[in-house]
């Protein structure tokens, strides 16, 4: 008997993309599309039932975001390797998607040529990202900016850590100031110190880092 085919599940709300992605995958002798969905709730339901090997997920889909779906899949079905196929700029979303648990990020404009290769790479246990994103990651790594999780956060003072945590929980600067009973100027000063200590380039990065840290280190 032949080896069983690798089962792939598609989550994308564009029928044309689903149809031709299926056709392309079915040209490979060892891959098969085992199901598809255009929204998050049904995708979760079907994936639980079918237990595919790989899920290919678009970021902007009906009833929810692909990133949230990836997080759920990581929690509920850690065996399913997810690959993001997205029209969105990889500069903005690749890091978020990979941190959420995706094993690969492919821009839709490059999908046709790359998707099969990425599926194979992910099946081999590797993470895929484009060369330019890999270069950005490498630079951050060298600067020490990717290691912010543990050791660097410990350098924060108590008040800075509190600010960092509250931002991570989704509070705005104004609310943080009110909750900590200090002025916004003080919160801004805390933010400046946090950015410096964690080697973050800007406020947007600070926010993302805070959210990520909060997710990994939940505090009541």
């Amino acid at each position: 008997m032949n080896k069983p085919k690798v089962k792939i599940f598609l989550v994308d709300d564009h029928p044309l993309v689903r149809e031709w992605l299926t056709n392309l995958i079915h040209q490979q002798p060892d891959l098969i599309v085992c199901g598809e969905s255009e929204d998050v709730p049904r995708a979760l339901q079907k994936i639980s039932a079918i237990k595919p090997d790989v899920a290919i997920v678009d970021i902007s889909i009906k009833h929810g975001s692909g990133i949230e779906l990836i997080k759920s899949l990581k929690a509920l079905h850690p065996d399913v390797a997810t690959i993001v196929l997205s029209m969105h700029d990889e500069k903005l979303y690749a890091e978020r998607a990979l941190r959420a648990g995706a094993r690969g990020y492919v821009m839709k404009s490059e999908t046709a040529k790359k998707v099969i290769m990425v599926i194979r790479q992910v099946l081999a246990g590797k993470i895929y990202m484009s060369e330019s994103i890999a270069a950005v990651f490498a630079e951050k790594f060298v600067d020490g900016r990717l290691l912010a999780s543990g050791s660097l956060v410990e350098q924060l003072s108590d008040r800075e850590l509190e600010t960092f945590q509250l931002l991570g929980k989704g509070y705005e600067t104004r609310q943080v100031a009110e909750m900590m009973n200090v002025s916004m100027k003080t919160v801004q000063a805390h933010c400046a110190h946090i950015k410096e200590k964690l080697k973050l380039a800007n406020a947007a990065e600070l926010l993302r880092e805070a959210v990520r840290w909060q997710e990994n280190n939940p505090t009541g």
Binding site: L16, K113, V187, C191
Partner: protein, 361 residues
């Protein structure tokens, strides 16, 4: 010198007239009668050789201008009677009893002519004032209407741009992605048959891929800010970087603590304001360095764009006025206050400030 003095007198006269306009008719009538009484008394004690007839005109003028024609005629008659009675009371003798009557008639006629002239002047004045008011009201209405239309135009173009941008991004780009996948399937089939046409199919895939990138760039121009609350920070960061690169200037974006804009329309307008201000700084201001800031304080959220260029010209040329007005419109649409001014020591500072609407709990 003389004209200056005349102008000053006119100025004070108008100030007094304005003050009197605000008083009630009854008060002014009492003032007029008081003046008649005072002048009548002075007339009485100084004797009949000196004529005071011209001074009564003050009371008559007051009555004619501020109170009404009927009252003015009454004051005229009263003035004649008072002046005549004063003279008679002092026991003056005239060679003929007809002389005082003759004098009184002459005086009364003179007063009545003055009253008539003043009443006509007053009517003309009122008419003119009414017309000016009417015209001003019409003009104000037209200006408001024009402003409303400009705003609507902006809103429509914003909405349409966003719609086209989204359609490009979510519709056309996805469709083209499907096309590249179909092309890839074809290429692999042709390659499996060992046909040289596989190379052509590959070319087709590449051409369509270029098409996807092209439409994504178009969509980005039409719809620059991503939907999420931190989208504006990211968009401004990217915008600062690309503008700096494109125009060979230093363009930085600074934001001390995270500023989240939850309403995508607000974020979009703030982005366009920054875009226009940076465009102005480069094109008109010849700036070498531009700083875009996004700040939040207890009371407000503020976007500011500062450059080191030549500053706003005085007066503003017409075509620049429009750009500034559109920025002000955008601010007004999102409930913000737009200000632009020359900055010290040089350059321009444009700001858009959004008041925090409700206090967070």
């Amino acid at each position: 010198m003389q004209t200056e003095a005349a102008a000053r007198i006119c100025f004070f006269m108008f100030r007094w007239i304005e003050k009197f306009e605000r008083r009630s008719h009854a008060f002014l009538a009492v003032v007029a009668l008081g003046i008649v009484a005072i002048i009548g008394f002075v007339d009485f004690i100084t004797g009949f050789e000196t004529s005071y007839s011209i001074f009564y005109l003050l009371a008559i003028g007051l009555a004619a201008w501020f109170v009404g024609r009927g009252f003015a005629i009454f004051v005229s008659v009263l003035s004649v009677v008072v002046s005549l009675a004063g003279d008679l009371a002092r026991g003056e003798h005239f060679s003929s009893p007809l002389i005082p009557a003759w004098n009184a008639i002459i005086l009364l006629t003179f007063y009545l002519v003055v009253v008539w002239l003043l009443a006509r002047l007053r009517a003309f004045h009122n008419n003119l004032e009414g017309q000016v008011r009417q015209r001003t009201a019409a003009l104000t209405e037209e200006m408001a209407e024009r402003e409303r239309l400009e705003r609507e135009l902006l809103e429509i173009s914003e909405r349409e741009q966003r719609r086209i941008g989204q359609d490009l991004h979510d519709g056309l780009c996805q469709h083209l992605t499907g096309a590249t996948l179909a092309g890839q399937v074809l290429e692999e089939k042709l390659a499996a048959l060992n046909l040289s046409e596989a190379a052509d199919a590959k070319k087709v895939v590449e051409i369509v891929e270029d098409g996807i990138n092209l439409s994504r760039r178009l969509a980005k121009g039409l719809y620059p800010v991503e939907m999420e609350a931190d989208g504006l920070m990211l968009a401004l960061e990217e915008f600062a970087a690309t503008s700096g690169e494109l125009f060979k200037v230093s363009c930085r974006f600074e934001c001390d603590s995270p500023v989240l804009i939850h309403d995508p329309a607000t974020a979009g307008h703030l982005y366009r304001i920054a875009q226009e201000a940076v465009g102005n700084a480069i094109k008109h201001g010849k700036a070498g360095s531009i700083l875009i800031r996004l700040d939040a304080s207890e009371e407000s959220t503020m976007l500011s764009i500062k450059d080191d260029g030549v500053g706003l010209p005085e007066p503003l040329p017409k075509n620049r006025g429009i750009g500034l007005r559109i920025m002000a419109h955008r601010s007004a649409m999102i409930g913000g206050i737009f200000k632009v001014r020359r900055d010290e020591p040089g350059g321009t500072l444009a700001t858009c400030e959004l008041q925090t609407k409700s206090k967070p709990k």
